[in-house]
């Protein structure tokens, strides 16, 4: 019996480990956001209305009439947001502006990310000169170049120069009420929607589980949504 006992213990622990992993996995997966087609095939599940609309107008790429809208709450310094950036760009190219609209909203995680707020301000200041998305793309694409910098502001200013912005106006706008207000309003919307971290993405008002953000899974979800809307 003594010779067999250790193997029994090992087998019990292995079984328990697999069971715990299985339970954890199941408890961690939030319900998939796959739309439930209405009998008429027309209606999507109505998103929960929230009283906070966020900054208006939102920074959006794609037509306002596009059947699928992805609303991202992001932090420029967050590595997974940096990883999501090329995924969304790829999907925007694949589906085109008539079918997919992408909205970016600020949710800078201060104090965890020391440069996130400055990055958000830089993008909004560029936005006041009509170059929000250009700055947004530059900031994300060069995340590794500035995330560990002592002072990221000169780096963002170099992007402003690269984009041909009026630097005097850009510097003034960085600390302006208009810029601060947009970031604040996006944050209010995030909290109203229960956003806990970044990136958090909503598809037509419903939260997309984080594990569905890889490009192949997100593509399936968008196709499902398009199928439901019949476009």
């Amino acid at each position: 019996m003594k010779r067999v006992l250790p193997f029994v213990i090992i087998a019990v622990v292995l079984t328990a480990a697999v069971a715990v992993a299985w339970n954890l996995k199941n408890s961690s997966v939030s319900p998939p956001p796959a739309p439930t087609p209405a009998p008429t095939g027309a209606a999507l599940k109505t998103p929960t209305p929230v009283p906070e609309p966020g900054a208006q107008p939102p920074h959006a790429r794609g037509d306002a009439t596009a059947p699928v809208t992805l609303e991202e709450f992001g932090d420029f310094q967050c590595p997974p947001c940096g990883m999501l950036h090329p995924i969304l760009e790829q999907l925007e190219t694949e589906f085109g502006p008539r079918r997919l609209r992408v909205i970016f909203r600020h949710f800078p995680l201060v104090p965890a990310h020391a440069h996130a707020l400055n990055a958000a301000r830089a993008s909004e200041a560029a936005g006041l000169q009509g170059k929000f998305w250009e700055m947004h793309d530059l900031i994300f694409e060069n995340q590794n170049a500035w995330k560990d910098a002592f002072d990221s502001r000169p780096i963002f200013e170099s992007y402003a120069t690269k984009l041909g912005l009026n630097l005097e106006m850009y510097r003034r706008d960085l600390g302006s009420e208009a810029v601060e207000r947009r970031i604040f309003l996006d944050g209010k919307r995030a909290r109203a929607l229960g956003v806990q971290g970044t990136p958090t993405v909503f598809m037509n008002g419903r939260e997309v589980p984080f594990e569905s953000l890889p490009v192949e899974k997100l593509r399936v979800l968008i196709n499902n949504e398009l199928a439901v809307t019949g476009k």
Partner: protein, 158 residues
């Protein structure tokens, strides 16, 4: 001819028993590491810990390129390693020959790897994940226990 005193004779079975207890403790400690590694693996695969939150730490560490080995979560590799040490230490506690040596080999490798991972968190990623730090602590304690058990075992045999 070697003279064995009465005191030394009584120490041999004591050493063997102490080694068995130390191996048992190492097996128990490795279970904590196993639970931690399973949790981290599931969190990693589900993406919950990878998402950035207001508290800096796990998201930076788990979304870094060092969190995976050819697409396999490092925490998953850790879970397999902990289970291996648990099995070997359990067998060693029951007196299976060679099991202690194998446990020491795997634990030693894990300890060296842990030093590398703590270095990465401190100086490369510049963020600490509390679950990774718990794993480092568990690996250290586990390795010390196994080394002590090996010393007792050798003491008992010589």
């Amino acid at each position: 001819m070697e003279v064995v005193t009465g005191q030394e004779e009584t120490d041999k079975p004591n050493s063997g028993r102490r080694a068995a207890i130390l191996y048992g403790l190492a097996a128990f400690v490795s279970l904590i590491g196993l639970a931690d590694a399973i949790y981290l693996t599931v969190e990693h695969l589900s993406g919950r810990s990878v998402r950035c939150t207001i508290v800096k730490g796990c998201s930076e560490v788990l979304s870094s390129p060092y969190a995976t080995l050819n697409g396999i979560p490092l925490a998953g590799v850790g879970a397999v390693a902990y289970f291996t040490v648990f099995s070997a230490a359990t067998l060693a506690a029951f007196g299976y020959k060679g099991a202690g040596k194998f446990a020491a080999f795997v634990a030693g490798f894990m300890f060296l790897f842990t030093i590398w991972l703590v270095y990465l968190q401190a100086f490369v990623i510049k963020a600490f994940c509390q679950f990774c730090l718990l794993s480092a602590l568990v690996t250290t304690v586990m390795t010390v226990l196994i080394v002590l058990a090996r010393r007792d075992k050798v003491g008992a045999v010589s």
